[in-house]
Amino acid sequence: MSFSLLFEDELKGFYKSKVMIFLWVGLPLMTVLFHLWFKKDIPFTALSAILVSSIGGTLAAVMLTMSIINEKTRHVYDLFLIRPLKRWNLIISKFFAVYTCLTIASFLALILGLVIDYFIMGRAPEAVLNDTTQSLAISLSMMAVSSSAGVLIGVVAPSVLVGAILVIYGGNQISAIPMLPSMLNISTPVPFTIILGAVISCFLLIIAVFLFNRKQF
C-alpha cells in the first residue's frame, strides 16, 4: 500500500517536472535535429537509442541525486518517517517513478526513429525491429544502472555539489557497463545486456537501501 501510494505520488511529481518535459519532447526533437545534421549516415533508430541512453540516463541520475539530497537536507523525510512505513519505500518508489518515465520517453524516441527510418530509408521491418530490440535493451539497461547509481549517490553524498560531481562522472562511467556484451561481439548480446544491467542496478539499490536505513535524519 505504502509503496504503490508513494510510487504514484513520485510519478505525479516527476512526469510534470522540467527534466521530464525535456525527455518527453526535447529528446525526440533533438533526435530529429541530429538526424538532419548527420544526413543518413546513422539510422534514426540507432541515433535515438544513443541519445536517449546517454542524455536521458544522465539527466535521470542527476535528477534522482538532486531530489534525494534536497529532500534529505530540507528534512522532508521527517514527516514520512514518523508514520508506519518502511524506509526503503521512499527511495525505491522514486527510482521506479523516474525509470518508468524514462522507459516511456525511450519508447517514444525509438518509435519516432522506427517510423522515420521506415519511411525515409525504406528498411524492412524485421531488420529495423532487430536493431531496435538491441538498442532498447542497451538503453534501458544503461538507464537502470545510471538511475540506481543516482539513488545511491543521493543517499551518500553530503551536499548537492559533491552529489552532482559524483553522479555526472561516476554514474556515467558505471552506466556504460551494460554495453560490454555488444562491444565484445557476443552473438546474442541482448539477454546478457539485460542481465548485466539488472544485476548492477539491484546491487546499487541494495547498498542504497542499506545505507538509507542506517541514516539519521
Binding site: 505504502s2 505520488d9 511529481g13 530540507r74 514527516l79
Partner: protein, 238 residues
C-alpha cells in the same frame, strides 16, 4: 499514533496542500472517504481552506507551518508533539496557532510543545517544563513555578485620580521608593525586612488620605522570562 510537527517543516516542492495531506492521511492509515472528510476539517481548523489546491512551495512560511500542523492533526492523534510551532511566524499566524492549540487542548488532545518564545508558552501552556542544557529543571503550572521563588517586593498601583501628593508617602516605614513610570501608575518598592502586610495596609490608607483614588493594586508577578532566568541562574551557580 502521535502527531508531529518538526521545527523546520518541509514538503516536496511539487506537492499541493491537498496532495500532501491526502498522502499523509493515507500513510497514517485513514480510509479514502475519511481522508477527504478530515482534510476539510483540519484545513478549516487552521484556516487554509482557500489554498487547498495551491502548491506548498508558493505559500508563505506561516502558511507552510500551518500545513505542517494540519498534517499532524489529520489522524486525530491523542498526543501532539510540536517543535517550535510558532518560530518565525507573523503575529497573526502565531495568534491563530495558539488558538488552535487551545481548542485542541479543550477537545482532549495532549499538546506537548517546545518554544523559546516564553510569552507564547505563558499564553497557552497549562503545565510548563523548564529545560537547561538538555535537563528538565522544573515542571509545574505557571503559578507553581512562581510560588517557588519569594514574592517580589514590588507593588503596582493604578490610580483613577492622582492628586500628585503620593510623593509624601516615600518616607513611609517599609517603603524603599515610590516612582511614577507612567501617568496614573505608581510602582512601590517595599523593604523586604519590614512587615509587608502592614506596609501595604499603610500605603493604601495613606493614598486615600492624600486624596488619591485607587483603581488597581497588585503585587508584581514575575513573567515566565524572569522565572526562566532565575531558574537558569540558580542552576548555573549550583
Amino acid at each position: 499514533m502521535l502527531g508531529y510537527l518538526p521545527e523546520s517543516v518541509a514538503f516536496q516542492e511539487w506537492r499541493t496542500v491537498d496532495h500532501a495531506l491526502r498522502t499523509f492521511g493515507k500513510l497514517s492509515g485513514l480510509e479514502k472517504n475519511e481522508v477527504e472528510h478530515r482534510i476539510e476539517e483540519v484545513l478549516d481548523l487552521v484556516a487554509l481552506s482557500d489554498v487547498r489546491n495551491k502548491k506548498i512551495a508558493e505559500l508563505s512560511a506561516g502558511m507552510t507551518q500551518k500545513v505542517g500542523l494540519a498534517q499532524a492533526l489529520l489522524h486525530n492523534p491523542k498526543l501532539l508533539v510540536l517543535d517550535e510551532p510558532m518560530a518565525g511566524l507573523d503575529p497573526a499566524s502565531r495568534y491563530q496557532i495558539k488558538q488552535t492549540i487551545r481548542e485542541l487542548s479543550k477537545s482532549g488532545t495532549t499538546v506537548f510543545f517546545s518554544s523559546h518564545i516564553l510569552s507564547d508558552v505563558q499564553d497557552v501552556a497549562t503545565k510548563i517544563g523548564i529545560l537547561n542544557r538538555g535537563r528538565i529543571m522544573q515542571i509545574g503550572t505557571l503559578d507553581e513555578l512562581r510560588s517557588r521563588f519569594p514574592i517580589k517586593n514590588d507593588v503596582e498601583i493604578v490610580l483613577s485620580h492622582d492628586s500628585g501628593r503620593w510623593k509624601e508617602l516615600e518616607s513611609l516605614t517599609g517603603v524603599v521608593s515610590l516612582e511614577q513610570p507612567a501617568p496614573n501608575r505608581l510602582l512601590a518598592h517595599l523593604d523586604s525586612k519590614a512587615d509587608i502586610d502592614e506596609t501595604i495596609h499603610n500605603l493604601i490608607k495613606g493614598l486615600i488620605n492624600l486624596d488619591c483614588r485607587i483603581r488597581k493594586f497588585n503585587p508584581v508577578s514575575p513573567s515566565l522570562d524572569e522565572l526562566y532566568l532565575q531558574y537558569v541562574r540558580g542552576d548555573e551557580s549550583a
